[in-house]
């Protein structure tokens, strides 16, 4: 009996991919940006970020990228997050809770349906830079 079978090796690969995919510059199906300026953090953005992180972990996705950025400018509606599906305009979500984050992950990130009830708007701000 060999120590490792072909299936075992493949299993190790699948399992290991779940953690290291974020190091690669590949194509991601979706990108979630949690806004973590001081205002966001004060309003609980860390919990939102962790809620998304646990969703990624739970479902074992390797094509959803979770990142953070600074303040988005609308401090009164924090915590905020932006969801960007590949090839589509980004959608900003406001006044998030962990539950809302889970719902957004399931419906929008995985299902492709924008959760309009929590969305602020679609598209990015224009800059002159």
């Amino acid at each position: 009996m060999p120590k490792l079978t072909l299936e075992d090796l493949e299993k190790i690969r699948q399992e290991a991919r779940k953690s290291i995919f974020i190091r690669e510059q590949g194509q991601f199906k979706a990108k979630i940006i949690v806004h973590m300026g001081t205002c966001g953090i004060a309003a609980g953005a860390r919990n939102i970020m962790n809620a998304f992180l646990r969703e990624v972990e739970k479902r074992g996705t390797t094509d959803v990228l979770l990142t953070t950025s600074g303040c988005a400018g609308l401090c009164s509606r924090e915590p905020m997050a932006t969801v960007e599906l590949a090839g589509q305009a980004p959608v900003k979500y406001v006044d998030l809770t962990e539950k809302k984050a889970q719902e957004i992950f399931e419906k929008h990130v995985l299902g492709g349906q924008i959760v309009t009830a929590y969305a602020l708007g679609i598209g990015s701000e224009k800059t002159d830079l």
Binding site: M1, P2, K3, L4, T5, L6, D8, L9, K11, I12, R13, E15, A16, R17, K18, S19, I20, I22, R23, E24, Q25, V34, H35, M36, G37, T38, I41, M49, N50, L53, V56, E57, L65, L66, T67, T68, S69, G70
Partner: protein, 608 residues
Amino acid sequence: MAEAKEKLYRTHLMVCAGTGCVSNHAFEIKEALEKEIKRQGLENEVKVVTTGCNGFCERGPLLVVQPGNIFYQTLSVKDVPLLVEEHLLKGRPVKKFMYQPPEEKTPVPVLSEINFFKKQVLVALRNRGLIDPEKIEDYIARDGYKALVKALTQMTPEEIIQEITVSGLRGRGGAGFPTGLKWQLVRNSPSPNGEKYLVCNGDEGDPGAFMDRSILEADPHSVIEGMLIGAKAIGATQGFIYVRNEYPLAVKRIYIALDRARSLGLLGHDILGTGFDFDIRVVRGAGAFVCGEETALLASIEGRLGEPRPRPPYPAEKGLWGKPTCINNVETWANVPVIIDRGGKWFASIGTPTSKGTKVFSLVGKINNTGLVEVPMGITLREIIYDIGGGIPGGKKFKAVQTGGPSGGCIPAEKIDLPIDYESLTEAGSMMGSGGMVVMDEDTCMVDVARYFLSFTQDESCGKCTPCREGTKAMLDILTRITEGKGTEEDLVLLEELAQTVKEASLCGLGKTAPNPVLTTLRYFRDEYITHIRDKKCPAHVCRQLNVYTIDPQICLEKGHGCDVCRRNCASEAITGAKGESHKIDQAKCIKCGVCFDVCNFGAVRVE
């Protein structure tokens, strides 16, 4: 089954832990990062990973934040708190730790946008900066051991050799022998008891070369997997990795990698249930340059004195303990898994008609971006030196580049558009070698360079054959004479004659190539030799015995106010003058040590 479920983190901090960065306190930075991450309560979100050499050694210690590929450089422990708070806690990448190209005003945040990385094509270094070399799972996640599965379950030995032949892969250790052909020869060689061996040559000895070391440190499993595939192709059951003991980090990581592969069953008996047996032993070399030569290396593995023997018989027929043995260099082995995985045709699509794929070079010397680069064959020297290397520091003029280490030659500035492949380098009088690339600027004396490299080979000559032992010594004597201003024009004739003889008559590659630096500098920089001999001058002011040091009395007095520093530092008491007065050098007493020139803060000491 070793299937520890890996905890998910939102961010991985990839800390470069290649030898260069480690000597710049990379491990202290790693510790500081972990401490600070904990202090900010981010320990469940952010993970610190140590990787092998990232390549941009000039800018170490390095850190790459993933996702995002944000590149931080020249970090120190005291930078850590700000970096963690700004980037990781608040999501604001910190500009002041980013790389800023010398002539530009804004930093370049993303690694792949930096010129140093832009033109590189990573094949042998495909996992650099992306995996922890001490974790086999990281390697497996990056499609590691996938090629092995293919080779063991879907390919016959002939098909594997065919694929390598199609790829056009040639030995990356120096001579450039076609790898597929070598494997075929070993496969065809009969062995009395069926035993054949396989060796990974990691005895990298060229001054300024660190390709093999970096591969072994950054991705040891790629070498192990390559060797496993090679073993199936040639029918070997035992392999050896010969590595210098002076590469402690590489040695450590190879041992860890072998242990992990063995404990998973990727080495040993009945690998992956295919009935294939193979194992690898590490042999640590004592650091003799000649042991990079294959027959000397084999002697060293057998426990004998590391001396070469005449070929034929080649190791492919009679190698270790008289059995057919396949020897390939570290980088060659690291290329094998990708070729099997992606196909020989894919590999052959990179490079030139005769030199396929990529080559790793260590870029050192008078160059802005010192580091490890992997480029497609056929790229020009100009692209490597200016686009990737960022040019020559201090606005100096590019003079020559030495490729192939002490066995290679100096390629002059006028050949800067030379494409890098085995043939053009040989034609230019140099060689690919294992990939050392020493860049020289206008302040380099080519006679001195030839003397330096020859002193290296002369020192490392094993002494077995007369042409190398005596010839290199005689050549070195002549070169030393010339640098001291005692050379004659007849010396040049003798030097060339000796060089040809040593090249033709030496037993092994060390002697056969040792004259190359002399021959190429004579070919391209003959006028510099002539100036040393006829005018007794060194145009680059490197050969100190030819320099004349004088003090400009006006500058000494007006700018330096006769500071007296030169006189106090002069060991031969050749300088006269009291404090507050201008000083003078007595040429009869001066031993040309150059200390006065080095210590004068006012530029009053002149050298001619």
